[in-house]
């Protein structure tokens, strides 16, 4: 395994401290307007430079029959996620089960990766691990679990499952304010856990370019309020919604199933792509940027990743790379010219 060293982190700068400094400097009003107008351009650049560095772990994994729990555990160890940190914590695993079909298993997070994650967290002393999803296109949760193959793993391992589309809810202030939504509604179960683990599939996406750990968080938004599909969020802007959700309800950890991903017309109709990796990390933005590079995609050209630099770095020299280096696992995913969101994304 190779480690890619990066320069020391820059001093931390929060948005509040940045605005205070602007006001003290006498140009707050003028700059404030520009800041708001350039929310997607100026602030992310500043925050990426001054903000905390990212750290991701890449493992080569040939197929789903490998000891995935051991691989995930080794990655967690590299990232400092150990027993003292996890002991006693309630963990919610959020796989991607957007629209399962028995004949197209590459659409969804593989159940064996979920099983590996459950075993890893339990072995580190987690008090409880549950799996939860609010499928984006399907109201029939049981069919989702059956078609994805998840139901057998859940039943055999006695892992509880929560349907996020139709359970009790609470309303939280929208801390991102990238959309015009003043509040966001979340399932109450999210308040009852200590860690949310986003477990996406490595996929291209015909609206967002890629769908990884940040886009996967759409699945925590209850369909009974946001619809099937979650069209209310689409109409407020996919990019803006992704960032609002991830600022207001950030996942504490990410495990990406990239053993077999999806290329082309994702997230449903694309083709399977054997990429042979599992990617882990504590900062979703950095994990997604690393995944994009593995897919041969420039993260700066993914609109929501570019804007998300306000909450995590995507620049490769700002991300401590553990495990494999990106170039050793890069496998270019097919991008379709007819899909606007996929044009010109290729990493040079």
């Amino acid at each position: 395994m190779k480690h890619h060293n990066v320069p020391n982190p820059k001093p931390l700068l929060t948005r509040r401290r940045f605005l205070q400094a602007s006001l003290v400097g006498g140009f707050g009003v003028t700059f404030g307007g520009a800041f708001l107008a350039g929310k997607e351009f100026i602030w992310p650049r500043v925050m990426e430079y001054f903000g905390p560095r990212g750290e991701t772990f890449i493992a080569k994994v040939a197929d789903y029959n490998e000891n995935l729990a051991a691989i995930i555990l080794s990655g967690m160890a590299e990232l400092g996620v150990d027993a003292p940190l996890i002991r006693g914590k309630r963990i919610l695993l959020k796989p991607n089960l957007v629209e399962p079909h028995r004949t197209a298993r590459h659409i969804n997070t593989h159940p064996l990766v979920v099983r590996g994650a459950v075993e890893a967290f339990l072995s580190l002393g987690a008090e409880r691990v549950i799996v939860a999803e609010g499928s984006g296109h399907y109201r029939d949760t049981q069919l989702v679990l059956e078609e994805s193959g998840m139901v057998d793993v859940l039943y055999e391992d006695k892992i509880p499952f929560k349907d996020l589309n139709s359970s009790e809810w609470y309303i939280a202030p929208n801390l991102g304010n990238y959309t015009k939504l003043s509040t966001l509604t979340f399932p109450s179960i999210l308040k009852q856990v200590d860690w949310i683990v986003s477990m996406p599939k490595l996929k291209t996406h015909h609206w967002a370019g890629v769908t990884l750990s940040m886009k996967n968080m759409f699945g925590v938004m209850p369909g009974m309020f946001y619809g099937w599909p979650k069209n209310v969020l689409h109409l407020h802007g996919i990019t803006q919604s992704i960032i609002d959700i991830n600022i207001t309800m950030p996942p504490q950890f990410v495990i990406v199933d990239g053993i077999i991903g999806m290329e082309g017309d994702g997230p449903i109709m694309g083709m399977p792509k054997r990429s042979g990796v599992i990617v882990l990390g504590r900062n979703p933005v950095s994990v997604d940027a690393t995944c994009a590079r593995i897919m041969g995609i420039d993260p700066y050209k993914i609109r929501h990743l570019n804007a998300a630099r306000a909450i995590g770095p995507i620049r490769d020299t700002y991300i401590y790379q553990r495990g494999e280096i990106v170039s050793s696992v890069r496998t270019d995913f097919e991008l379709l010219d007819e899909i606007h969101a996929q044009r010109g994304l290729r990493l040079s």
């Binding site: 399907y138 049981q142 059956e146 309020f225 619809g227 069209n231 449903i268 109709m269």
Partner: protein, 301 residues
């Protein structure tokens, strides 16, 4: 009572009644308008626990807004899709006919967002046809449109132009290869995949409104698909959809009981799902009770 007896599951539904009338979605949980409407329909159709029905209908009426809307919850007044369910829950009772008509008026005035028909050429469907949505701030989708059609028909508006538009929307969203999904057909020249629940809902809404030849391909899809379905939502709607067109499979009740028994494996079903299975179980010749002629009006009302 035996778990293989539907009465056992109707008792489970009855146990979810909440203090001020109405039902919760799970045992011990709070009132929900959608769960209440489904429980009313299931209990009424099965003639079970009828003492709980009118208090539940009253609760729905009490929660109705002045404009006629029944929201999913008071803190989410934009989520209006339970309005259609409430109309069906009030269907058999004169006492609530005013509430029902106000709800129908609300639906007739409300539609999903629409676009000019050629504004998004990447989509295979026509976004200009007005239907209904889950939420005020959203486009029109298959399930809320189909439920609104069924509700408005039961309220006497079968010939209303909005209902005709809804039918047109459903036909426009039928997949070329048969069946329906949530509401997209072709995106970037790729035909999307059908879903059994939405197919069943759409077929239920379209009965007697379109020529059988125009939906035969979807009946074929669902007829093949239902054999392997045991999840409550998809199985219920598949059986209701097929039954509406006279194709209820002979093993329907056996499959429903199998689905009910799966609660031992998956845990207790939500009120909505349990109600849908109980409705599909009792459906006479496959027809759902709330689409039958009004011959069972609640005299006590």
């Amino acid at each position: 009572m035996n778990k293989k007896d539907v009465a056992f599951h109707l008792q489970n539904l009855a146990d979810r009644v909440v203090l001020q009338g109405g039902f919760s979605e799970q045992s011990g949980s709070v009132y929900r308008s959608d769960a209440t409407a489904w429980a009313i329909m299931a209990l009424d159709a099965n003639g079970a626990h009828t003492n709980l029905i009118n208090p539940a209908r009253s609760r729905l009426a009490a929660e109705q807004r002045l404009d006629g809307m029944i929201a999913l919850s008071n803190d989410h007044p934009d989520s209006y899709w339970p309005t259609s369910l409430a109309i069906l829950a009030w269907y058999n009772s004169i006492k609530y006919s005013e509430s029902m008509q106000r709800a129908a008026s609300f639906l007739l005035q409300k539609s999903g967002m629409a676009l000019e028909s050629k504004s998004y050429p990447i989509f295979g469907h026509d976004p200009s046809i007005p239907g209904w949505s889950w939420n005020v701030h959203s486009f029109s989708w298959v399930e809320p449109t189909a439920l609104a059609i069924i509700a408005l028909e039961s309220a006497g508006y079968i010939d209303h132009p909005r209902v005709q538009d809804g039918v047109r929307l459903l036909m426009d969203r039928q997949l070329p290869g048969g069946g329906w999904n949530y509401g997209n057909t072709v995106v970037y020249d790729q035909e999307l995949l059908p879903q059994p629940d939405n197919t069943g809902i759409a077929l239920t809404a379209l009965v007697s409104k379109v020529d059988r030849r125009d939906i035969e391909i979807s009946l074929d899809y669902l007829h093949n698909r239902v054999v392997s379905l045991r999840s409550p939502r998809s199985l219920s709607w598949a059986l209701l959809g097929l039954g509406s067109w006279g194709q209820r499979p002979s093993k329907s009740k056996e499959w429903i009981l199998k689905s009910l028994s799966l609660q031992d494996r998956y845990g207790a079903y939500d009120t909505t799902l349990l109600s849908q299975l109980c409705l599909a179980f009792i459906a006479q010749n496959g027809t759902i009770p709330f689409l039958l002629p009004r011959n069972n009006i609640d005299e006590a009302s």
